[in-house]
Amino acid sequence: MSGGFKQRAAAALADPVLKTAVERTAGTAEAKRALAVAAFADFEAARTRAAAIKDHVVANLGHYLEQFEANAVAAGAQVHWAETADEACRIVVDICRRAGAKSVARSKSMLGEEIGLPHALAEAGIERVETDLAEHIIQLADERPSHIVWPAMHKTRDQVSALFRARHAEPHLEETIAAMAESARRHLRAAMLGADVGISGANFLIADSGAVCTVTNEGNAELSVVPPRVHIVTAGIEKLVPSMDHAVHMLRMLARSATGAALTQYTSFYTGPKRADDLDGPEEMHIVLVDNGRTKMRAEGLAEMLRCIRCGACMNHCVVFRQIGGHAYGGTYPGPMGAVLTPAFDGLAASRDLPNACTMNGKCQEVCPVKIPLPTLLRGWREKSWREGLEPAGTRGAVRLWAWGARHPGLYRLGSAVAVRAMRLFGRGWISSLPLAGGWTRHRDMPAPQGRTFMELYRRGKRA
């Protein structure tokens, strides 16, 4: 992705189609979530419980990882550990090579995107078939996901239609979305059944049974990992829950927050490879537990972010995301949760614009099923950026000037009294152009001050 965040955001704002596309999917998700939450008595208490479950797991993460590993191994799975993204990719590619794999079927996993698995498989010369419909679309378009639940939300039906016509053997005959989905069903089914390895992520890892839980609405995870000889799971180490009943609570929260459903259509729990007399299932099951900065986040003030269950509610409700879509963020994860995660993964110097591109309206925190204080974490990155001297000189100068003014209240009041009067010279009612505020007035008018400063009114004993 070229340019910095500001260039990408400007390009996104200028895109005539993008906002409609984003609005359609995120708006629907927002409305459906609202209905689901309204129909659930005590959703607030349920959020508090979900946050407490995740906090308990993150506090005792070592214990649960060891318990999960022991149970998964007892069930016949092979457990691998990776400290970095590269190490995780190497482990997956090695398993594929040992299995003599020519093709892999992959069921959408954001962890896979995070560690760059699609790229690593391509470099190893292994054909990758993305089976989630949206991931299939962006694989054909050679793009990256723009949302963690709807990766192709930025695509219109016309764009999808053109891709399928060019790449499917028997493309759709009618220009309907149903016909396009049917075309993908035909195209992908053969590929899934012919794959040598199936790769999935994990929505939850259940410590007391060693089970790996995946959720999909399409059924593509099951069709991707049941037929091949080898199933590889890549999962972040924060995905643990103590037991099935803890998973149940988290699943209730995940589905309602993501799509507004009471439960995802398909929720599967895999415990080890095919048993001796089973009629189907993989002969080998591998689970790759990936740190990739998570232990560092836990130690360095971002433990609350490890509660995240990747539902996408924060971005669906974010006024900034709804304007610019996911690609402008530039990282694997977009929206508010992405703006917290990307500086941790890619370094703050490269991504300091993300925490700044937040209005602090608090909506993301309000809808988060695990109550992550996203605005507070974003403010933490802003403070760190300031402390480390990453802010540009202009910003530092302006903030220093303001700080000086704040320490000299007499002068500050005089200055604001002059400014309030001076601003009226630029327009009545609305100001369409104002020196030093071009960043605001280029895109919208600023309301002109209607009277005196607050302090002047306060002194006169008015409460207006």
Binding site: A46, H56, L223, P227, H249, A262, T267, L279
Partner: protein
């Protein structure tokens, strides 16, 4: 040092306290949609009919009624073939008049399965893999027919008994395969079954 040791070392020093007791305490009185225990079958039927599950339901009295109910459903959909798993509960029944397939076709028509349990809260069907219960046919079929024995119907997801030994896969089915990946518009039958038909026995 191995990656495993390095990760676990960074996570060492669990907080004091009884981890098990803390984890159990987190499950006390969970928030969940109320289900009337006296009307489990009615609640279950209502959830199946709802838009997010959208399954059809046929209530039957006896196990021997299963083939007839399947024949009726297939006749309505214009299908003759059925994938029948080697399930001891089903195989002794009289399947005459149907084309029984022992292998699921890549582009399957209809498949029958027996649920281990069902959940009124969500209209969920719980299935377990076993030598008599493969998983793949249930995802290849366009029409998935699932037999639920009334005595296995429970109120909440937590009430489903854990299996005696964990099967390779336990999977919950709560509706038909669907997608909203193109312009947010819902389409039935993305990769898996487009139709789900439940036979509730007893």
């Amino acid at each position: 040092m191995s990656a495993r040791d390095a990760i676990l070392r960074r996570l060492a020093g669990n907080p004091a306290g009884d981890i098990r007791a803390e984890a159990d305490a987190l499950l006390r009185a969970p928030e969940r949609p109320a289900v009337d225990p006296a009307a489990l079958a009615e609640v279950f039927a209502e959830r199946l009919a709802g838009p997010s599950v959208s399954a059809s339901l046929d209530r039957i009295a006896r196990l021997e009624d299963v083939p007839g109910a399947v024949r009726r459903y297939l006749a309505d959909t214009g299908l003759a073939g059925l994938y029948l798993p080697p399930e001891p509960l089903l195989t002794p029944l009289d399947w005459s008049g149907l084309t029984i397939e022992s292998h699921a076709a890549i582009d399957g028509g209809a498949a029958l399965a027996v649920a281990s349990a069902a959940v009124a809260e969500t209209g969920t069907l719980v299935l377990d893999t076993a030598p008599s219960a493969p998983m793949l046919p249930n995802f290849l079929a366009l029409h998935h027919i699932v037999l639920v024995r009334g005595e296995t119907l429970v109120a909440y997801l937590e009430d489903v008994s854990p299996p005696a030994a964990w099967p390779r896969a336990r999977y919950w089915i709560t509706g038909v395969s669907g997608t909203t990946d193109i312009e947010g518009q819902y389409v039935r039958g993305a990769h898996g079954p487009r139709y789900l038909h439940v036979l509730l026995l007893g």
